[in-house]
Amino acid sequence: MSAISREDVVHLAHLAHIEMSDAELDKMTGELDAIVGAIASVSEVASSDVPATSHPIPLTNVLREDTVGQTLSIDEVLLNAPDSDSDRFKVPAILDGE
């Protein structure tokens, strides 16, 4: 039984704002399924008493003091902006946001 259905991929593509053709969806369904299957093999060796990990390096508390540093100039900030107005990024009106 596959872990990833075509509907899952349609849903993920929608969430990620990625437009995909039917052929791409079919292809990706198979590939993602293979990836999830490969990852699942980890659970064959890791029993439930092994905690999930997201960081391979055993580092904790990498913290910085609360001291102000260098900021970008307004020109640098807006350098990659497709459009700007009054020193602010100009973006299309987006209706379904809050």
Binding site: L15, H55, L63, D66, V68, V91
Partner: protein
């Protein structure tokens, strides 16, 4: 615009049939010097996009680094809310697409908040206490600020485009989430207001936030649902977003109760959705329903390693906790011996600190209250300023009062001196000296003024001789005039009596 056509049920009637269940998410902006994950300044009101680093813009290859002070402030909030502090916690990415974050995710905490399982005892005006259980308090970052341009209303509907300022993006936030609050009944709106007020007071008292609601330092999302009286399951809730004043919180909860009751009465179902609050009409309108957009695909933030708290660190921070505001009020009221109403007025006027410092500087609680609630409040109102911005210090009041008690000036002159202090002329003693305001009680000068007044009003003198002591008052006018208001009235009276051998 709020195109409001909802049916409502009278509030009391609604609560005869239904029990309200509340829940709050309160966002607190921390007042650290820098942002949560970058060393850009955390400041309000600066020019757009001037407090921005590559991290805040989510440029490729940047690495966030956690602000230690923001973590400590978060722990302080957790401790003040009687929470457990996580031994180990981490950050997660909350993914969504909206221009208020250039990264397309908000760095937040998901499964492991830094603080959890707390409570806050909320005292309502009549003294009844509700315990509100805290589910969690987690660290995250604020988003940039969008201004919607064009269109007719300035709202997002009908806007042509939006302008984005990322100064606020990355400002440290602590989100405080309650467990469902049951049992408030008709006091639900009042409790809602009191809860948000208490959180605001706590973070202000801790010194970890400027706590100005009008600036968005403290923001509230209010969840409301109703369940029939005999039900054992919660109803469907709505979440009213961005209810950002204490009064609005109270009104929004009340409105949603009235609206939910009407929907449920009609046999329809409440749609789980966000609602927008409209201050002008004091109503809510439908935002968006729960949908795909709420699938945030949280995953652990790979660029930030976990935070581990030691007992030593937590206890060091616990040692920094100030006296909780509610306990402090109870203590001060008893120490100052104020009546209930007197104390409530002092709290509402926001001069608790001033009175406490004035008492500490040597004045009695009664004298301190007389000045801060009387003349100083009046002058602040006249100048349209906050009392704390007038420049009157507790030392000023103590000095004024000792001048009065030492009979150097009278009450009336003291009020004048206070105005000169506010105008920046110096300390009360300096002003009395410079302006020659000391009460005239040397008998030579007073005696002359009394003689002149008596000579000018022989009929009054006859009345006094005849035993009409209140006639002395008629002499007071000319004597005060001659001494520019600085005569000691008691002494004038004595001199008149002496001169007439009474």
């Amino acid at each position: 615009m709020s195109n409001y056509t909802d049916e409502l049920v009278d509030f009391d009637e609604a609560l005869d049939r239904y029990d309200p269940v509340l829940g709050f998410e309160v966002h607190v902006e921390l007042n650290t010097k820098t942002k949560m994950f970058s060393d850009a300044p955390n400041a309000f009101g600066d020019d757009p996009n001037t407090n921005v680093t590559p991290v805040d813009l989510g440029l490729p290859g940047v690495l966030p680094v956690v602000n230690k002070t923001a973590v400590e402030y978060s722990i302080l909030i957790g401790l003040a809310l009687n929470c457990q502090i996580a031994e180990k916690c981490g950050f997660a990415r909350k993914n969504y697409f909206y221009p208020d974050t250039p990264k397309n995710f908000q760095t937040s905490q998901f499964e492991d908040p830094i603080a959890y399982d707390g409570y806050l005892d909320i005292e309502l005006e009549d003294g009844e206490v509700f315990r509100v259980e805290i589910e969690r308090a987690h660290m995250e970052e604020d988003a940039g600020k969008l201004t919607h341009m064009g269109g007719s209303t300035g709202r997002i509907q009908g806007a042509d485009y939006s302008l984005v300022d990322y100064n606020r993006a990355g400002v440290p936030l602590v989100e405080i989430v309650t467990k469902p609050i049951t049992g408030a009944g008709k006091r639900a709106p009042e409790l809602a207001k009191a809860y948000v007020a208490a959180v605001r007071e706590i973070v202000k008292n801790l010194g970890v936030s400027d706590a100005k609601m009008e600036r968005g330092n403290v923001r509230c999302d209010a969840n409301v649902s109703l369940m029939p009286k005999d039900a054992d399951k919660f109803g469907t809730r709505t979440e009213t977003k961005n209810v950002n004043s204490l009064r609005a919180v109270e009104h929004a909860v009340r409105f949603e109760i009235e609206r939910h009751a009407a929907v449920l009465d009609s046999g329809a179902k409440i749609v789980q959705e966000t609602r927008h609050w409209h201050e002008d009409t004091r109503t809510t309108t439908s935002g968006r329903p729960k949908s795909d957009a709420d699938d945030y695909r949280y995953f652990p933030e790979p660029d930030l390693v976990p935070i581990v708290t030691t007992v030593e660190w937590i206890e060091e921070l616990r040692g920094r906790l100030p006296e909780p505001p509610a306990e402090r009020r109870k203590r001060l009221k008893a120490e100052w011996n104020y009546a209930d109403k007197e104390f409530r007025d002092v709290v509402n006027a926001g001069v608790l600190d001033e009175i406490e410092q004035t008492v500490a500087a040597g004045a009695t609680a009664a004298v301190a209250r007389k000045w801060w609630m009387g003349e100083i409040a009046r002058l602040a109102k006249a100048a349209d300023k906050d009392i704390s911005d007038l420049g009157v210090t507790p030392a000023t009041i103590v000095e004024l009062n000792s001048l009065i008690e030492g009979k150097k000036i009278n009450d009336k002159i003291a009020r004048q001196v206070l105005e000169y202090v506010i105008d920046g002329e110096g300390t009360p003693s300096e002003i009395v000296e410079k302006r020659s305001l000391a009460v005239v009680n040397d008998d030579g000068a007073l005696g002359k003024a009394v003689d002149d007044a008596m000579a000018a009003m022989p009929d009054v003198v006859e009345k006094i001789k005849g035993g009409k002591m209140q006639a002395i008052g008629a002499l007071m006018g000319p004597v005060m005039k001659a001494t520019r208001g600085q005569a000691d009235a008691g002494r004038v009276r004595e001199i008149v009596m002496e001169k007439l051998g009474l």
